[in-house]
Structure formats: C-alpha cells, structure tokens
C-alpha cells in the first residue's frame, strides 16, 4: 500500500454513478474500475458499452446499476456508437436544439470487445478524431463466457481455449499492445491504469476526457475467477502487475511518454505470476522468456519517457 493512497483517497467524490446491486463476482476488479472511472467522469456523461461482463452484471432487465445515460450495443461497435453520439451532440448543439452544456462521451468494452472484436470500429473512431474517451477494461480473456483466450491474454496463461499441457505452455502469443496501437493513431491522450492505484486512475480518466480529441485508457482489471486467485487479492495482484513491470502504468500525452508509477527496481516477476492458477504451470524456460520480454518492454518505456 503506498502512502498517497491511504491519505488521499478521501479526496474522491462520495457520489456513486455505478449503483450497488450489480451481479459481478466477489472481488471483481472490473466492477471496481467501472466505479472509479465513473467517479472521475461525474454526472454529465453518456456511456456506450460493448457486450461483456460489465454489460451482463450491470443491466439484467428490469434492473440497472447505471445512474447515468448508458446504452448497450453490440460487441464490435461501442466506439462507432460513441462516435455517433458525439457527432449528434455536436450537431444538435450547433443548431441550438439542446443546451450547450458540456457532455462527455465515453465508450467502454472489455479486452475482447477492444483488441479483438471492436478494434476496427475503435480504429475508425480514433482516425476520424471524435472527441470521446475509450476505456478498455482488460481482464485478459473472455471471462464472461468462461475464460476463453483473447489477443490480450498474456503469454503462457492457461485458458479453456489455450490449455497448458506437456508441450504447449498455455497461450503461445504475446499480449497485443493495444495502448501502442492507440498511440500510433496520433491521438492526444493514451494511458494505462489499474484500480489498485485509484488516484492515478482517476487522474488519467480526467485528463483523457479533457483532451481535445480521442483518448484511450487501458485499465488492467484483475479477475479473481478467471485468473485463479482469492477474491480478496484483487488489489494486491493489480499492484504486483505494476511493481513487477508486467503492466507498467504510463501515459502518452501528444506523443510524450511519461511513466506515472515509476520504480528504481522492479520486483521479481515470479511473485506476480506463480501464485495465479493460470500461470502456475510455467516452467523456468518459459518464465525466462517472459522475464526477458518484460524487461525489454520496461527498458523501452524508460527510454521513451526520458526523451
């Protein structure tokens, strides 16, 4: 626990825009991320949500956990719908048909809805330059349907469609670097965050929604059910992912990199990986490969943020 979190979390608003009574699993990191994101966004926001865990748990008819206007759309088009909402607001305000109060437009999706199925719509919306925020809640597999691999599943992770055996060590491809893909679109703001660092997350969301153009925030959302950890360890594993360099927290503002939670020295990767059921089969050679790539990724990031 870092001290800033202990003494400063009280500065966050007491108001909740994501109501209790939602049906996520015990200790759901994604529900916590949604809650903190919407604390940062406040009241004047319209959210378009792709299919996924958060859609299922927050809106079983006739109940809804949403205190703000929220629309569920198909798996692939959350970004396109958000883009449409943004364009409609712009036109209606220009024509004087609605008040010119500032309304934020947000698209949300899980890793499947972002890096696999929704990538085309997201790329299009970022390219067209809609002024909106896209939040990816990345729990590193299709958890809603029972843990199938996505292209955001990390190398070596066991899922039902990338089972670990004697020959294959689970997922055989490296996690797709979605924040870099967003950076490549030259959008004004890209960041990574995790609810284990709540103030960092809230600041990034606020920066993202204030940016002049598309913004992308990639949030690591720990999934106790899919990762095979105890429900109380959600926050701990989010923190370990950052402290070991497995999921570095950084932001890219108009092309300028900055590591927001920096360490002189990273913690050993085993402390993050081996206690998780999805990684417990990892042999030393696979671990060595992961260690190498994580170190390389961390160095690259250090270099870029020093520029």
């Amino acid at each position: 626990m870092n001290d800033a979190n202990v003494y400063a979390v009280k500065t966050l608003t007491k108001k909740e825009y994501f109501a209790p009574g939602h049906r996520s699993c015990l200790g759901c990191g994604e529900a916590l991320a949604v809650r903190l994101v919407h604390k940062a966004l406040g009241r004047n926001v319209i959210t378009a949500s792709a299919t996924g865990c958060m859609e299922i748990v927050s809106s079983p008819f006739p109940l809804t956990s949403w205190e703000i206007p929220w629309i569920h759309v198909a798996f692939e088009n959350a970004a396109a719908v958000a883009g449409g909402i943004e364009a409609a607001l712009k036109v209606l305000q220009r024509k004087g048909k609605i008040s010119d109060k500032k309304v934020s437009v947000v698209a949300m999706a899980g890793d499947g809805g972002t890096v696999d199925i929704g990538l085309q719509a997201l790329s299009g919306a970022m390219e067209r330059g809609h002024k909106f925020l896209y939040v990816c809640y990345d729990n590193e597999a299709y958890m809603n349907t029972g843990v199938q691999r996505s292209s955001a599943t990390p190398f070596g992770a066991h899922t039902t469609t990338s089972p670990a055996g004697t020959v294959v060590p689970g997922q055989v491809t490296w996690k797709k670097n979605m924040p870099e893909i967003a950076v490549a679109h030259k959008i004004p703001y890209v960041a990574t965050a995790t609810p284990s660092y709540p103030l960092d997350l809230v600041n990034k969301i606020k920066k993202g929604i204030a940016a002049d153009g598309p913004a992308y925030v990639h949030i690591l959302s720990v999934c106790p059910t899919g990762w095979g950890i105890a429900s109380e360890e959600t926050i701990k594993f989010g923190r370990l992912a950052v402290q070991t360099g497995f999921f570095p927290l950084y932001e890219v503002e108009n092309g300028k990199y900055k590591i927001t939670v920096d360490f002189e020295e990273l913690m050993p990767l085993e402390q993050y990986l081996l206690p998780q059921r999805r990684f417990r089969h990892l042999a030393e050679d696979t671990l060595g490969y992961i260690r190498g790539r994580v170190a390389e990724q961390w160095e690259e990031l250090q270099k870029r943020s020093a520029e």
Binding site: V9, K10, G21, R35, F61, T64, S231, E232
Partner: protein, 319 residues
C-alpha cells in the same frame, strides 16, 4: 422412498431441482446423477438455469430422468425432489416453489428434518453435508456429498452407479475421497415422513419461506411478469440505478467486522470496495452495508492498520 411416477402419457419421469450458489457445483451434482441414470440404461438430462449470476449468487440446476427418450427441453418448475446445497439459501430463495404435493425436500443442514417439514410434503430429509465435506474433502463443497442423501431417498438410481459416475469424472484420488463422503452421507441422512412428524412442528418452515426474498423494497417486478405492451421501446430502463433494490449481500459467506479502536478512518476500504457497500457515518467511520457486501474480503486485506477481520457467516437463525 420414491420410485418412478406415471406421467400423463403413462411414461415414468423423475424431476429434481438443485439449489446452490455459483461455484458450489450444483450443476456437477445434477450431471453426476444424470450420468448414473444413463449408465443404468435410463434416459436423463442435466442442465443449469442461465442467468447473469456469478460466483456466490443463488443458482439452480435441473435433472430429469425417464425410462423413455426425453423430448422436453424446459426448466423444471414442478420438481418431485428439491435439493438444497447451501442452508444460507433458505432465507433468500423459496426453495419449495412448485415442489409437488407429495414431493421430497432434501436440505444440507445440521438441524433435524422436522424443522423443514411442510404439511403438503411426503418426506423431508437433512444431512450435515458441510461437515462431512470439511471432514473428508477438506473443503465446504457439498455437491457430491448430497448425492448420497439423494441415493438413499430415491430408488431410481443405484448407489453403485453414482460411484461409477464419480469415478469416471474425477481422478483416482479425488474420486476415492468423494466416494467416501458419499457413503458417509448415505448412512447419516435423516429422513422424516409426514406421518411421523409432530403436528406442532409442521409448517414452522412455512412462514420462513414466505419471507425469503432477494430484493429490497421498491424493486420492480420480475422480468417474466412484464407484458409486451408494458415494455419501453428497446427495453429502456428509465429508473436509473434501480439495481439498488437487489440484495447481493445474500451471496456472502464471510462478513467483514470492523474494530473501531484500530480504525484510522482513512477510507481505503471504501475506495477499494467493488460493490459500493461502504458508507461513511457521521463520526467518519466507514461502515459496511450488509445488503450489498458480497464478502470478497478486499477491505480486510487492504486495510492499512488491520482493523477489519473476515468472520464466517452463520446459518440463518430463524429456522
């Protein structure tokens, strides 16, 4: 003792409903029983109800057994037997809903069966499956244990077939332990027939069932109660945040308890709660709302001064 019942077309059919919590293995239970029936040359189905519920939430699974091929594909609304894997469900779900008048109720409980007897039922049975599971399996997973009670009560499937089904499903070590738990449950199940039940204890369970509910006041009616012309276009829900009327606190098996003397009122428990269960009181302490707390334990784990302890929930007292 239940044997097959004659259905409308003269066919014999037995329908069982399993009540459990997500992750407790109600579906496995139903599947093992169906598998055992199939091994004996009968026809059987096992399937869960589909909903948005997750780990810890109340769920149901079904098992249908017949002498002839089964063409029905519907959920079981009028079961012959109801099995309850977790006694804490009794205050949440009306487990006897739709149970046939001469049906049987089997409950995992340390109490005796007369606590659960209803006038309209044939038999009630209890088995302290949680204890057996903790003793033998070292985990409070009661699904295979309860099959022992089911085998004792229904003559439809032989014990040997259930053992075969378990041995096919689990590896040798787990199968051996599960079979041991199954046999212990078979021996220890307490069965009470209506005729042997004292009249004064009949129906004490009735008022308990009537109070079972997962919602708070102000909840909208269930989705199945809506007529087509009552729906908004696009099924829009205009009552923002009405999920507050749904009590997820029923999923809890551990309860956070605050030690106010150690508490520094920092709010870390509040900020890390995925279920928005913490509220600040006037003195500045953060208190948990038990209607929503699912008992994940994040607050106890993250509290910087160790002021929160997780304690095991007790079986509902009212029964």
């Amino acid at each position: 003792m239940v044997v097959f019942k004659k259905g409308k077309g003269g066919e014999k059919v037995l329908e069982i409903r399993f009540h459990g919590r997500g992750g407790q293995g109600a579906v496995t239970s139903a599947e093992l029983f169906a598998q055992a029936a199939i091994m004996e040359g009968k026809y059987a189905q096992a399937f869960p109800s589909f909903g948005p519920e997750r780990r810890g939430a109340p769920v149901v699974a079904f098992c249908r057994i017949d002498d002839r091929p089964i063409f029905l594909r519907t959920e079981i609304n009028e079961p012959d037997i109801v099995m309850v894997l977790d006694p804490s469900l009794l205050s949440v779900v009306d487990v006897t809903a739709g149970l046939k008048d001469d049906g049987i109720l089997i409950i995992n409980s340390e109490k005796e069966p007369h606590h659960f007897m209803l006038e309209r039922l044939e038999q009630a049975a209890t088995i302290n499956a949680t204890q057996i599971a903790l003793d033998i399996l070292k985990r409070p997973i009661t699904n295979t244990v309860l099959l022992g009670a089911l085998a004792r009560i229904s003559a439809v499937v032989k014990m040997e077939s259930i053992i075969d089904a378990i041995e096919q499903r689990f590896d040798a070590k787990n199968a051996a332990r599960n079979v041991q738990a199954l046999q212990k449950a078979f021996a220890e199940t307490l069965i009470l027939s209506k005729n042997d039940c004292k009249p004064e204890s009949l129906n004490s369970f009735q008022k308990y069932i009537a109070a079972a509910s997962t919602t708070r006041e102000g909840a909208p009616k269930a989705d199945s109660e809506y007529l087509w012309n009552e729906l908004q276009p696009g099924c829009v829900v205009t009552d923002a945040g009405n999920a507050k009327s749904f009590r997820t606190g029923d999923w809890r098996s551990f309860l956070p308890v605050l030690n106010k003397e150690r508490c520094i009122r920092c709010g870390v428990c509040w900020v890390f709660c995925p279920d928005m269960a913490y509220r600040q009181d006037q003195e500045g302490y953060y208190l948990v709302d038990l209607d929503y707390c699912k008992g994940c334990g994040i607050c106890a784990q993250e509290c910087p001064v160790g002021a929160i302890q997780m304690e095991m929930e007790k079986e509902a007292d009212a029964v």
